[in-house]
């Protein structure tokens, strides 16, 4: 290994950005680098992070999933409603995961079998899930189940003095580990990379295209649904109107995490870094106090642009016409 493998350049860029953002925060604000802030960061970005892990698979396969925010809200209200009518929390979560995954299978099927554009199908999915959330219950439902009130707070680990790693953060880190394993150590994961890189070649190499694509959308939907469950842990409620635009955060996290939006290149740990970068930017803006929340969107947009242009340059520049 005399020279750097080009596929690591975006990941390296991500790591540098993460380091830069973190050191900026630490230099500006004395309490920024404390374990407690870091744990809070993980807690606050947990549901986005879980969803972004799923989004990574779809983007790696060369597609896009815009239904993430609606899915998180839908699952949130579904779980809250089921708990309200007295269901067992595990059964409710199981049902929510199944329904969410099924929605992913339907979207993947439409994309694969009828060759519809992914952004369109998942945009329709966004609308359907958003509407269905309101069908379940049109307003926010608070969750006061003993599992949420008593069991969950105990499922946390003291990682440092005054820094407790909550269960949501564990779900996030767990999703990253599972996602990394699936992406790097299963045939399905490698097929996703192959299809995202060159679908035609993948077909001629005899890889199962349809199965892989549909599974990728199903997996993304599963992680989004899981994100929805994590969001109920975090919010202690479900609200059908919440998390609009979360899909953009998830996509931004994936891209800033070094995954090529055209598919085929990227790493799940990169997505973790991407999510942390977004979270840190938010933290800095909160710490600052005078900066307003919209700067988050602008900075994310700018980072997105930088990474997209960077990717374009790495993958071989513009087209032939001058």
């Amino acid at each position: 290994m005399t020279r750097l493998n080009p596929k690591y350049i975006p990941l390296l860029a991500t790591a540098l950005v993460l380091l830069a953002v973190f050191s900026t925060g630490s230099l500006l604000y004395p309490n920024f680098g404390t374990p407690r802030v870091i744990v809070n960061l993980l807690n606050d970005s947990a549901f986005v992070g879980v969803a972004a892990v799923g989004e990574s698979f779809v983007i790696l396969s060369g597609g896009i999933d815009l239904s993430v925010g609606s899915m998180v809200a839908f699952v949130g209200i579904l779980v809250a409603k089921l708990l309200q009518v007295g269901w067992d929390p595990f059964l409710a979560m199981g049902i929510a995961l199944c329904v969410g995954t099924a929605a992913g299978v339907v979207m993947g099927g439409l994309i694969h079998y009828f060759e519809l554009p992914p952004f369109l199908v998942t945009l329709a999915g966004l609308f359907c899930l958003r509407g269905l959330g309101f069908v379940i219950y049109p307003e926010s439902i608070g969750i006061d189940h003993p599992f949420y009130g008593q069991v969950l707070p105990q499922l946390s680990i003291l990682v440092a003095p005054k820094a407790v790693l909550p269960f949501t953060a564990m779900c996030f880190l767990g999703s990253v580990i599972v996602g990394t394993f699936v992406a790097s150590f299963t045939r399905f994961g490698r097929n996703v990379y192959a299809i995202g890189s060159n679908e035609n070649s993948a077909r001629l190499m005899g890889l199962p295209i349809g199965r892989t694509k549909i599974t990728a959308y199903a997996l993304a939907a599963f992680f989004s649904a899981l994100g929805g469950i994590v969001a109920t842990f975090y919010m202690q409620s479900g609200n059908p109107a919440s998390f609009a635009g979360l899909e953009l955060d998830a996509i931004a996290a994936v891209v800033i995490g070094g995954t090529l939006l055209t598919g085929g290149v990227g790493f799940i740990p990169g997505t973790l870094m991407g999510v942390l970068i977004l979270g840190l930017i938010q933290q800095i803006i909160i710490f600052n106090g005078t900066l307003n929340s919209w700067w988050t969107k602008i900075v994310i947009g700018a980072l997105l642009l930088v990474f997209i242009v960077l990717q374009k340059l790495i993958s071989g520049g513009g087209d032939q016409e001058s």
């Binding site: 079998y113 009828f114 060759e115 509407g131 919209w294 700067w295 994310i300 947009g301 700018a302």
Partner: protein
């Protein structure tokens, strides 16, 4: 009694239009609109009721025209972008920027309404041009390129309004989205003028031919000497301009600029309007009037659901199902599959949107690809 006569007159006119359009692509779009209206005629009480107040017309159908203006304006820009084989996801965010710029100039900076409107249009056109540079100049895929502005645009709009919801009462600004001209909402005039402008732009110049050519076969267009980059740049710029107009109408409607909510999810409505209007998402032939009719169809659907007391929160569901249905009927592989199931229908469905099968690995020639 009067209603009965005016309804009959309406349907006679509508029927004649439909008859004149037979055999044309937008027949289907107008027909779908007709079916929706027919449903309302019979099942939604009061939908066809029109009353005259202060010399202005009021009623559900007028509401459709007024409320549908935003989507119709957006779809006029979007249809050209889609015709080149692209898509513009940023129109909702650009609407928010236009609304923010105009109301800030008007309220905070005490500028005249004319200056505020002009500045909003210039800035939204520049936003469109920005997309154009990314797509045409850098060769970034349209979805990805416009995603940047979709994410950042709303932040920029909030920056301009400083996170406030700016209310205004300036008569000119209020007139844009609420005024009447010739007894009809002014927005209708605005849509017709923009349609006229678009029509002039693409049909009186050769731009329309180039757009269709680039969208249908990019490579062959290049061989024919068409400057595809210039064409693409122009359509995204125009889409930005249209989004600016729609943003002005949107904030005028509610007499305030709310950077968070103006134009939210309207990009999907615009795409749906274009597709319902007969333009394929794969690019090529486009239908300006079809896009406007598509916009009307969507607004009629929304208004119908509203009139039938379906919560506005749930109304996205039927819209989403409609867009999937329309796209399925445009999808070659869906039609072939369907015609295998129901052979007799296959022939009927063919003209709905027949396109040649996609280029794929099934190319039969032996020549080495460049």
């Amino acid at each position: 009694m009067i209603d009965w006569v005016s309804d009959l007159l309406f349907w006679i006119v509508f029927g004649s239009i439909l008859f004149l359009l037979r055999g044309q692509r937008i027949f289907w779009s107008v027909g779908a609109l007709g079916l929706l209206l027919l449903f309302n005629q019979f099942f939604t009480p009061g939908f066809f009721h029109i009353q005259i107040l202060d010399g202005h017309l009021y009623g559900s159908r007028i509401d459709v025209l007024n409320q549908g203006a935003k989507v119709m304006l957006l779809s006029l820009g979007m249809v050209l972008v889609i015709a080149t084989g692209g898509v513009d996801l940023s129109v909702g965010a650009v609407m928010a920027i236009a609304a923010a710029v105009s109301s800030r100039l008007l309220v905070t900076e005490h500028q005249s309404a004319g200056a505020a409107i002009a500045a909003a249009l210039v800035i939204s056109t520049l936003a469109g041009a920005w997309n154009g540079v990314l797509v045409a100049g850098f060769g970034i895929q349209p979805i990805v390129a416009t995603l940047v502005l979709m994410v950042a645009g709303r932040g920029v709009a909030q920056l301009i309004t400083e996170g406030q919801i700016i209310n205004f009462l300036d008569p000119t600004m209020v007139y844009l989205g609420n005024g009447h001209l010739f007894a009809l909402p002014f927005t209708l005039t605005l849509v017709l003028v923009t349609l006229g402008l678009a029509f002039f732009l693409v049909r009186r110049t050769a731009l329309g031919l180039f757009i269709e050519s680039v969208g249908d076969n990019d490579e062959a267009s290049r061989y024919s000497g068409i400057n595809a980059k210039q064409v693409k740049f122009l359509v995204y710029t125009f889409s930005g301009f249209c989004a600016g107009l729609a943003g002005l109408v949107a904030c005028s409607n509610i007499k305030s600029a709310d950077a968070n909510n103006i134009g939210l999810y309207l990009e999907l409505d615009a795409i749906l309007a274009v597709v319902v209007g007969g333009t394929s998402l794969q690019g090529g032939r486009f239908y300006l009037i079809g896009a406007v009719v598509g916009g009307l169809f969507i607004q009629t659907l929304t208004t119908t659901l509203y009139a039938r007391n379906v919560s506005s929160d749930i109304s996205p569901v039927p819209k989403a199902l409609a867009i999937i249905a329309v796209c399925l009927f445009q999808s070659e592989s869906f039609r072939t599959r369907l015609s295998h199931v129901v052979r007799p229908f296959g022939r009927i469905l063919k003209p709905l949107g027949s396109r040649p099968p996609q280029k794929s690995i099934t190319a039969t020639h032996d020549s080495p690809k460049p």
